[in-house]
Assembly symmetry: C2
Homo-oligomer: 348 residues x 2
């Protein structure tokens, strides 16, 4: 059965509560856009494409609560809702992409004299969700060409169905390769501090009986040294014009290690993850999260009280360490700037 | 007040229960050598030099329980106790070094006609403990020459007072540099899966008010990329004839990252950590520990039930990635083989 972490049902946004996984499979049902904001902030829904879908649906929920007339006031209030949603998390490009698309859709709907503006926004949010699954399938098709029978693939964090509307980006590539009959083994970085690998990727792979082994993040280098990893594939939170890529903290270290061991390092992400406005990764805002994520696990404390903590949620991998980026339009390789400029042109 | 993780008192071995730290400071008192074996296995006492001291004291406890006569039977039974203790953990050289020293001491005591053989063994175990503290002070003196005022030093696992008889190897270097008035900041890798950094190193540094920041292991590369780390210093569990060094899992990844960022990477360890019999690190036995260390923290489960786990407790850093090794006899640098051969000669 397909894993759908966020979807629209009866004018509500239904989410898999990813904080409860893997021990408990339960849903959060949001009837107010503020609940969606909280869910994005507290990681009930996470993963750049899934955050994008949740943001669009949150905006649609907000639209349903705004009086339809006068149209100008509707638009102004909708924009205010969008501003609130945009403040939920700073790094994933898809959040801002989805909100921009919703605002543009409202603008077009107003221009073409549509009556039920909120209804239009709901349709657009659902379209973003449906498109994302299709896009992931295309990423899977393209990316699977990079995967060989017998590969031992390392992945970091969760770039799976749970990180998207369904199917996944990096895990989508692995799923497609498996559907093609390739035999694979996946090494799953547990991904401190929030353990998206141990909690979410392990859960997805186990559910689909894809052979997988869980490791701590600091074991990846040792596995590479022993020739136990043939490829690395990860998702992305923001890819800028030169190919520099923000992704879950730890990705940069993996890319350096992969380079040092001559192991291909792939990024899989939809075009909605690209930020064509930023020239290099140095401009990507990196979210710092609460120190409790590092010092506590499910209430159990590991570090001494009052210990100073640094907890950046993402890092930036320079383009030169990335062997290829897989998008729904195909695989791009160095030099990335030209290829990304062509992708940008294609979106206009 | 000096932290003493393992010491002899009233014919018992007293240990700080390191599994209870940092939340609870309590002692384990062992009156039987089998308790010492359990404490080594379950990490109540850990860290290569501390394991050596505990093993020697465990052997001494065993000796106290053996009938003094006939001497030949005493020696045979003592050797059997030693064999049991040696099976507790496979990687740290100091365990085997300490047991060999205890056996040799018994041999000498018998030859010189000593009457109270158990008493002699107790004295030797206490001597190993006292010497270790003195050795750490010497390591600190030598190693502090590598540390500059204003350094930001990354350390992994716990190579502190808790990992030795007191004072520490890598943290001993940091302590001495501080005593010399150098201003330092320490970044502490939490060190998955057992969190020796978060639980033990953070506790030691906090206790002594040494400025420190806790990070997840996968953040080290990002800090290096941002020029926030000027040096890396770690301890060692076994150093072989060519300088290859086994240490806590994750050390190898750090060494690769340090090399890639041109950051000096230092190892601090006593000569008892050297295994002159092994030519390269490929021959070092690497302990694999229980998967629960990865999937659970204090009873809270993070990964799905039945998930396959790989949990090596150590990795091997090739000598070429190590900028210098600090011992009680001074600092050695590449080529290590010659310098280590000289150390070996000095011990004979």
């Amino acid at each position: 059965m397909m894993i759908k972490p966020v979807f629209w049902k009866n004018n509500k946004v239904v989410m898999i509560d990813q904080n409860a996984l893997p021990l408990c499979e339960r849903q959060l049902i949001c009837s107010d856009y503020r609940q969606v904001i909280t869910a994005i902030k507290d990681l009930t829904v996470r993963g750049a494409p899934a955050i994008g879908v949740a943001a669009a649906m949150g905006a649609a929920l907000g639209a349903l609560s705004i009086p339809a007339e006068p149209v100008e006031k509707f638009q102004k209030t909708f924009h205010a809702v969008c501003d609130e949603i945009e403040k939920s998390r700073p790094t994933a490009r898809n959040l801002f992409w989805a909100i921009e698309r919703m605002k543009e859709h409202l603008g077009s709907a107003i221009l073409s004299g549509k009556k039920n503006l909120a209804g239009e926004l709901v349709k657009e949010a659902r379209r973003i969700c449906a498109e994302d699954i299709e896009i992931n399938r295309q990423i899977g098709q393209h990316g699977s060409k990079l995967i060989s029978d017998g590969d031992h693939i390392l992945t970091h964090c969760n770039a799976g169905a749970l990180a998207t509307a369904g199917y996944g980006t990096a895990l989508g590539v692995i799923r497609t390769a498996r559907e093609q009959g390739k035999k694979l083994h996946v090494f799953v970085d547990e991904t401190r501090p929030v353990l998206q690998g141990a909690r979410l990727t392990a859960w997805e792979l186990k559910k689909e009986k894809i052979p997988a082994t869980l490791i701590c993040d600091n074991m990846a280098g040792f596995l590479m040294q022993q020739n136990k990893i043939s490829k690395v594939i990860v998702g992305a939170d923001r890819i800028v014009a030169n190919g520099d890529t923000a992704n879950k903290i730890g990705t940069y270290s993996l890319a350096v290690l992969a380079k040092s061991h001559r192991i291909p390092f792939y990024v899989a992400a939809p075009i909605s993850t690209f930020d064509f406005s930023l020239k290099t990764g140095a401009s990507i805002p990196i979210e710092e999260r609460n120190e409790c994520e590092v010092t506590h696990f499910k209430g159990a404390q590991s570090a001494p009280g009052g210990m100073k903590v640094y907890n950046p949620a993402f890092d930036v991998t320079p383009a030169k360490l990335i062997s290829a980026i897989v998008t729904e339009k195909g695989i791009i390789t160095r030099p990335y700037s030209a290829a990304i400029a062509r992708l940008h042109k294609g979106t206009n």
